[in-house]
């Protein structure tokens, strides 16, 4: 009978999708209100020390500082493009800090906050957006795959990796990142099906930032995204994506369930892209400024700062120190980016195959001879 009732249930339209500032979100897991007040949730307790809380704030603040610097560098012509994470810091830091040694993460191209938690040097991420590299870091050393730009493709890689973990008999889990737009991709749906069929230890972490470039969520889904999970036969949960504590608690629980053999979970982190899709985008063409103003009231960094200040967990000196560290980081990112050398022209011929094929080697030789023919010319 339960199954019957589920099948005939009329699902409400997406709460707040067309007007994300509307408050009614009954299923939203929250541990920190927008005002920075700590609240409890019956299913998601979070045991966290003051030091860890300060660490999370430091993550959020530094990642935002990096992002601001990167946007500025793009405007000054030092990056080809930048995909800003502004507004999504808590979703990314909370998810990234839920991973433990042995876990693996598969990002989209916007997961700079997760990259930070995996110890990836921001300059390696910058190298991709500057156009000197198609990857940038060692994905094995950081247990953080390279950015995947084709929307949703990495969800299948994550699922396959999780199937490998199963075959190894390991107790690890995989975290697959995706956005709201990606949920329309066939490959993402295939990933959810494979994960369910094999009960793979993978958690799908969907940052619903309300827009797929310009197209709002209601064009992608008639139901709240987390409810899609039920159709695939595994749990779905919606978490306040601007609440780093709730994201951390929910993601930790899902990863632990996966490690224990309980299979996949779909997490919808309800958040908002406060900036443009990328530096090439113009959000004023498709959304109202008032919407952004509403979401500024839920700012993920300010929220944790308010909590730390109000509860006395951090004092003014701490915040000043984090700000100073942010400025140092930004200066390092700036000089490191500006000074980044272009790759050697011939390097494009490397690593196409494990060993260069004779035709490719011949082509490279022609390329180099052509370049050499200009030597001595102005």
């Amino acid at each position: 009978m339960t199954a019957m009732r589920q099948a005939t249930e009329v699902v409400d339209p997406v709460p707040g999708a067309s007007s994300p500032h509307l408050p009614q979100q009954p299923d939203l897991v929250q541990l920190l209100t927008p005002e920075g007040e700590r609240v409890e949730h019956p299913d998601y307790a979070l045991d966290i020390s003051d030091e860890e809380l300060r660490g999370l704030y430091r993550d959020l603040a530094l990642v935002r500082r990096w992002d601001v610097e990167a946007t500025a560098l793009q405007r000054q012509g030092e990056l080809g493009i930048w995909a800003s994470l502004l507004g999504q810091e808590a979703a990314q830091v909370g998810a990234g800090r839920a991973l433990v040694d042995g876990d693996m993460a598969f990002p989209t191209y916007r997961e700079h906050g997760v990259a930070w938690t995996r110890g990836v040097d921001p300059l390696h991420v910058m190298s991709l957006f500057r156009g000197v590299d198609n990857g940038g870091w060692n994905p094995v050393d950081h247990a953080f795959n390279l950015y995947t730009i084709v929307i949703g493709s990495q969800c299948l890689h994550a699922t396959g990796y999780a199937m490998g973990i199963q075959r190894d008999g390991a107790e690890n889990a995989v975290l697959a990142f995706l956005g709201d737009g990606a949920t329309s991709q066939g490959e993402v749906n295939e990933a959810l099906i494979f994960a369910a069929s094999f009960s793979a230890p993978v958690v799908f972490f969907c940052q619903n930032n309300q827009y797929a470039i310009s197209v709002p969520l209601e064009r992608q889904s008639r139901v709240p995204l987390f409810k899609r999970a039920a159709g695939f036969g595994f749990p779905g949960v919606r978490v306040d994506g601007n609440d780093v504590l709730a994201v951390l608690a929910v993601t930790r629980a899902a990863l632990q369930a996966a490690r224990e053999g309980q299979g996949p979970t779909f997490i919808e982190a309800f958040t908002y892209r406060m900036g443009a899709h990328t530096t090439s985008d113009d959000p004023s063409r498709y959304r109202l400024a008032s919407e952004l103003e509403e979401w500024k009231l839920r700012d993920p960094v300010a929220r944790l700062k308010a909590h730390l200040a109000r509860s006395g967990i951090a004092d003014a000196a701490f915040f000043t120190a984090v700000d100073a560290e942010g400025d140092e980081l930004a200066a390092r990112i700036r000089s490191g980016t500006v000074d980044m050398p272009d790759p050697a022209p011939s390097s494009m011929f490397e690593h196409v195959y494990a060993e260069k094929t004779p035709p490719l080697a011949a082509q490279q030789a022609e390329f180099e001879a052509y370049h050499a023919s200009f030597e001595g010319e102005k």
Partner: protein, 325 residues
């Protein structure tokens, strides 16, 4: 040990040997478990190696290739079966944007030792999407290698070599020749995977083929001999990378070259070969390089496929035209 094997059985034994040799080899595909695949190439393997190593996947080709990428990142060697050539396209995105590029994207950190087995070509009287020759799509993509076997010996050794190879390989199996037999010495030393081979010496025209068309080319050479013409037949064996050194040597001798494949000729493998042979053998050529292949139409209904597919007569016609220059 020497035994008489069909191409299908040779592939089956080759897969079995590869799985015995390396516990990381995992077969994935639709209906490859209990059923043994629609062509029975994986017959009996799930029973002996278990469901974790011979995986009946959900019916989703992108899912098969995408999860294979993840398994490869985890250190496995996935061998993906695509049920029919025309069904590879749902997986095309994963193959072209991910499988082919991850090694370069990661500067060699992540290997993609994935084999994509595809029964290739027509001649079996099938409905649409079951008779296609998609090799050029893959050969056009940097990072992939494309192998097209033509006989049981290459099937037996080639599948093992492909699985042991570090790069991703599209492994094309000549569907209508699955039941062709030959003696296979399973103790022999195999020839290199990415090398073409002269199957039959000749002086008048060099005929190039791969996969299912090799037999057609050999039949044409036999018929030509009865008419007093001597064709040199080369089995390319690999479409990417092309091994054209033996081809150049041959064409410099014969001065004439005909390329045969089932795929449409426009922008096909034959076009690439014609350009390269012209460049390398320009002063030896007595005639332009000619192509015999499919037409620029969708693969026709099966009652017309014998008109579409190159056969002995069309190869001989091209030979005549070449000799006529």
């Amino acid at each position: 040990m020497t035994q008489t094997l069909t191409i299908g059985k040779a592939l089956n034994l080759g897969l079995r040997k590869a799985m015995e040799d390396d516990a990381k080899v995992v077969l994935m595909g639709e209906d490859i478990g209990k059923l043994g695949g629609v062509f029975r190439i994986t017959d009996g393997l799930q029973k002996d190696f278990g469901e974790d190593r011979v995986v009946d996947t959900p019916l989703a080709e992108a899912g098969i290739l995408g999860t294979a990428v993840g398994l490869a990142m985890r250190g496995y060697r996935p061998v993906c079966e695509i049920q029919f050539d025309g069904f590879v396209f749902p997986a095309y995105n994963q193959i072209v944007t991910q499988v082919a590029k991850i090694h370069a994207r990661s500067k060699g950190t992540l290997a993609m030792p994935i084999v994509i087995r595809i029964p290739m070509g027509g001649g079996i009287g099938a409905v649409e999407h079951h008779s296609e020759s998609p090799e050029a799509y893959f050969a056009h993509t940097a990072g992939l290698k494309v192998v097209a076997v033509s006989n049981p010996v290459d099937a037996y050794w080639g599948i093992q070599q492909a699985i042991a190879h570090p790069d991703p390989i599209v492994f094309l199996e000549p569907k209508r020749r699955y039941w062709e037999k030959a003696e296979v010495d399973t103790d022999a030393t195999p020839e290199p995977l990415f090398a073409s081979r002269v199957l039959r010496g000749g002086d008048d025209v060099t005929v190039l083929a791969y996969g299912p068309m090799v037999k057609t080319a050999l039949q044409a050479a036999q018929a030509a001999e009865e008419e007093g013409r001597s064709l040199e037949v080369i089995d390319l064996r690999t479409v990417s990378p092309l091994d054209l050194v033996p081809v150049f040597e041959s064409v410099r001798r014969t001065g004439r070259c005909v390329v045969v494949h089932e795929a449409a000729v426009t922008l096909g493998v034959g076009a690439e070969i014609a350009a390269r042979v012209t460049e390398a053998c320009f002063h030896s050529l007595e005639a332009p390089v000619l192509r015999v292949g499919g037409y620029d139409t969708p693969y026709p209904p099966s009652k017309l496929e014998e008109e579409y597919l190159p056969d002995l007569d069309r190869v001989l016609d091209a030979v005549d035209r070449s000799m006529g220059f």
